[in-house]
Symmetry: C2
Subunit: 585 residues, 2 copies
């Protein structure tokens, strides 16, 4: 038997017990004739004492112990002289009678501490060591608990978790698929699912009523910092529902997670905001509503005063940063540099200091007098001591840049507390987006999203004006999930494919099974999918999803630990009737 | 709002309520001025009444309803005249005031009844309709509930569910991998996991102590009736354990499932049987222990009596089929045909009738007298009225054929009740199997399985004699799961790879990350993986796993509903730097 207790379990009431523990050597230090070892496992750390005067052999053995050795010990629990109130086992220590070294360890390439000295690539290569660190262990524990709570909640609401296939069919719509060559069906390929979308709709048609699945999805995209080629969704669908039935159900799921995981009670309903309002007020369809600092459109107020930047701008708008009139020239210059960064893309920044003494100081004093600046300040609800920050230019780009600036200022002003959760439903998204390049509409959500019932009449006259019966759940500026009421009528679905530029044959080839299913009594239905990695990351207080995933890939889609992807044997390619068209470097 | 209640919910106490229901038309029939419709959803069936004399318009509308139409109705719950005690809603019916046809249905290609008239291929093509049938709905509900119970049990035992990657690395060991070409890493491929084996071992090395995952796995094998290219495992691993710690834990999981799902309490410990005993007594490493009918080796007793079939046989053994001495010549001939089928492979069958009057009648009366036959009967524990069935030949093949015959006789004698569960741990498997063809050892389980501690000394002298520290859970002759204590010592692992014919370079290239991880304090660990599809199938009483899976593939690995796998666009191949080497037919 390797242990009677874990390393996080022993308390004062165990004093006098003989116990056996196993774990890793976190730290070992010698003090005169005594050695002290911190023994670690998933559950905690327990201090071991090796006393030369009591058991010289074992004490001698203990001097060989290095960091990360795996050992098993037997000994007596005694009261600790210098108690450590920061450790759950801090009242006791164990005088060791018997020590077995289960496995030695080379010196790890980085320290196994909360703050390690290892760099990113090194930690990815030795992920199994990085995963020993407490912040990662806590993140994976959190992920497990969130999974349990999601399942418990949805099970209690009558949902079935139903597994959908991973080897499905490639469709050119949406992001790029990962494909899997089939050996048994020569020259043909499966695709890995980007989502179980069509399958969950088929389950509704099959009468399963309430479906969910915590499921891996795959996208072969060029990776950004917060993307992974494989990611996990909480995928859900319900039949016989209208939009608000779905919002209520999953608002309650979110509240359940707030409460059970974070101990946070959210009172009342989550606010709903139209997409258009989110763009106008936050420049962003996933606004961080932990703080205000809304956009103020002053285009009309500033045109025609001879300042060419404003005069030539389609859109001029500003935000009010509370209490920052005291910013120095240097601080303002840094802000200007910030907005000019390529990823923000503004050409410049106009500031107005609303001084405590009632005067104004701005970078455009030459063009606008105090009264004009005062009118802006009033429009923006500024108080003495505040700072107005104004951007101008093309409307969409300026909104986007101002959104970044707002988040930067929110962060500087400490308005983005990680322990505050501000959820929001964003609704009424446009159904279709016109794509200049391809000269056709694209589905903003996906081709199965229903228009809002009241907009159906626009389909033949002004399809670009239709709103989708779609919704996103945004928490603290993070899009946690999104979904829609689906089309369940075969004629409407056909019309939709046509609007998206599918020929009848293409629609049939790719989605014929779904169109066919609609012929046999498809119920009204809708659903939602949540990004599980992101939700865990939000609750963990991480800036990236990477450390919510046990074995993530790097930005080239590589697992550097197992060194994958890798070359495969020529026989494997032969069996698949495939050849490489480029020489391997 | 589409409904106030489900179709399985209304009872006598709801009489007088006005309710709204939605669902599918299961049946519609007209009786004079009345129409009756059975409305179906996942929760049950409710009878609707349309009364011409009360609401002529709605009654007229109801006459348009066909099978599988999706409707929503509002009406009053009334007491049913002819109550139906077989239906949970059989005390009531609903007089309909308002009817909305939500979607029409064409006539389904087969009946949506417990026993349908649809053939296999048709039902696969219209899987979304087949899934409407109650036996499939019940199977998916069972699967969901088993998933919930597995997770609840393991969570309560301190396991974390941790997701491991799907895009991993191809290894030539074991079955054939499905591979996934990488676009970002030209000429390189991921593989889909056959199991998360190495990752769960890394999680033990990383200190997660108890891991599980209900996870899809993939094998590109030629498919038999009960195989799918993608299948689901309950994958588990524990650190600091010996074999019996694992057996206890998962025996308790099995008992929890027996109890919570089937209401069956299993008392005491599951029996353990050595692999060698299973083969000797049942000819099979997954014996069905719901009944006895053990093998009796009579080789010694029958040699040298001039019957050439026995004399030339390495092995002669029989079973005793209780009470079947009355079998007619015709019935015995059929049994002979049965054992001669190619998949059974016996050359013939010797029978001995142990007659009620104390005489014997056998097919070898010419060679063996009554005393000799009596000795066999005694050896096999036969009573008057029993029938001895004897096979002879090469030992391994004869054991295998006799095993099939035993199961056939068990089935005929009604000894294989689907509501009885007879679990068994099969232990002490051989570690290595000698493969004549390749002239080297193969791992019977996998290369990470540890030898039994007491057999370690045989590694250098007689490796083929070593037993593995491995175990299978067998229930009713179905291998539900299996696992082993793993190797955690880098030198032993290197020795194992060498014994399996890996060069140092091959071992390093394929499993270097694991060998490397063993250097940094790998704890003793072991685990188990259960076939979730099979376990559900066992509890559902199905003979195949197919209907425990929402969207299975056929024996060619095709999803005939979505028509996958399929051709992909030439641009997709180009992006992957791949070309097809054979023309597409």
């Amino acid at each position: 038997m390797y242990r009677t207790h874990t390393c996080g379990e022993l308390r004062a009431e165990n004093i006098g017990n003989s116990v056996t523990l196993s774990g890793w050597v976190q730290k070992a230090r010698v003090l005169g004739g005594m050695s002290f070892v911190d023994l670690r496992d998933r559950y905690g750390i327990t201090q071991l004492v090796f006393d030369d005067s009591k058991n010289a052999d074992v004490a001698k053995q203990a001097q060989e112990l290095g960091r990360e050795f795996v050992i098993s010990i037997t000994g007596e629990v005694i009261e600790r002289q210098s108690k450590n109130s920061k450790m759950s086992t801090g009242d006791i220590e164990i005088v060791v009678d018997k020590l077995t070294i289960l496995n030695k360890s080379e010196i790890p390439p980085f320290t196994i501490e909360d703050n390690t000295d290892g760099g990113d690539e090194l930690r990815m290569k030795y992920r199994y060591l990085d995963l020993r660190r407490a912040p990662l262990q806590k993140a994976l524990e959190l992920r497990h608990k969130m999974g349990i709570e999601v399942r418990t909640f949805l099970h209690n609401q009558g949902f079935y978790e139903i597994e959908t296939p991973y080897l499905i069919k490639s469709t050119p719509e949406g992001a790029r698929d990962f494909v899997v060559p089939s050996r048994m069906n020569s020259n043909q390929f499966y695709a890995l699912p980007q989502s179980p979308q069509t399958f969950k709709q088929l389950l509704m048609i099959a009468g399963y009523d309430k479906y969910f699945q915590i499921v891996k999805c795959f996208r072969d995209e060029d990776l950004r910092a917060d993307r992974q080629p494989e990611f996990t969704q909480i995928d859900c669908e319900m039949a016989f529902v209208e939009r608000d039935d779905i919002l209520n159900m999953f608002e309650n799921l979110a509240k359940h997670l707030f409460k059970s995981i974070k101990g946070f009670s959210y009172d009342g309903d989550f606010p709903k905001m139209a997409y258009s309002q989110a763009i106008e007020q936050y420049g962003n369809d996933k606004p961080d509503t932990r703080f205000g600092m809304l956009f103020n459109d002053i285009t009309e107020m500033v045109h025609g005063k001879g300042f060419v930047v404003f005069d030539s701008a389609e859109y001029v708008a500003g935000i009010c940063a509370e209490g920052l009139a005291s910013y120095s020239r240097k601080e303002l210059d840094k802000l200007i540099d910030f907005v000019k960064k390529p990823q923000i893309g503004a050409k410049g920044l106009v500031y107005v200091k609303v001084n405590e003494d009632g005067t104004f100081k701005s970078s455009v004093d030459k063009f606008f007098d105090a009264n004009e600046q005062k009118a802006w300040a009033e429009k923006m609800g500024a108080k003495p001591g505040d700072l107005l920050l104004i951007l101008a230019g093309n409307k969409r780009q300026t909104q986007s840049a101002l959104s970044e600036l707002r988040l930067e200022m929110g962060s500087r002003l400490g308005l983005m507390d990680k322990n505050t959760y501000s959820p929001l439903w964003v609704v009424d998204f446009p159904l279709l987006e016109w794509d200049e390049k391809s000269g056709r509409f694209h589905a903003m959500h996906h081709p199965f999203t229903s228009p809002k019932p009241e907009d159906l009449q626009l389909f033949d006259t002004d399809p670009g004006k239709m709103n989708a019966n779609a919704y996103d759940l945004v928490i603290n500026g993070v899009e946690i999930g999104g979904g829609s009421i689906r089309i369940h009528d075969k004629d409407l679905q056909a019309k939709m494919f046509k609007a998206l530029g599918f020929s009848k044959e293409e629609a049939e080839e790719q989605f014929g099974f779904l169109m066919n299913a609609f012929k046999y009594g498809a119920p009204p239905h809708g659903g939602v999918a949540f990004g599980f990695d992101r939700w865990v990351s939000l609750f963990a207080g991480f800036d990236s999803i990477r450390d919510t995933i046990a074995f993530p890939k790097n930005n080239s889609g590589r697992d550097v630990m197992i060194d994958s992807p890798s070359n495969i044997a020529p026989e494997q390619l032969n069996e698949l009737n495939l050849s490489l068209t480029k020489p391997t470097e």
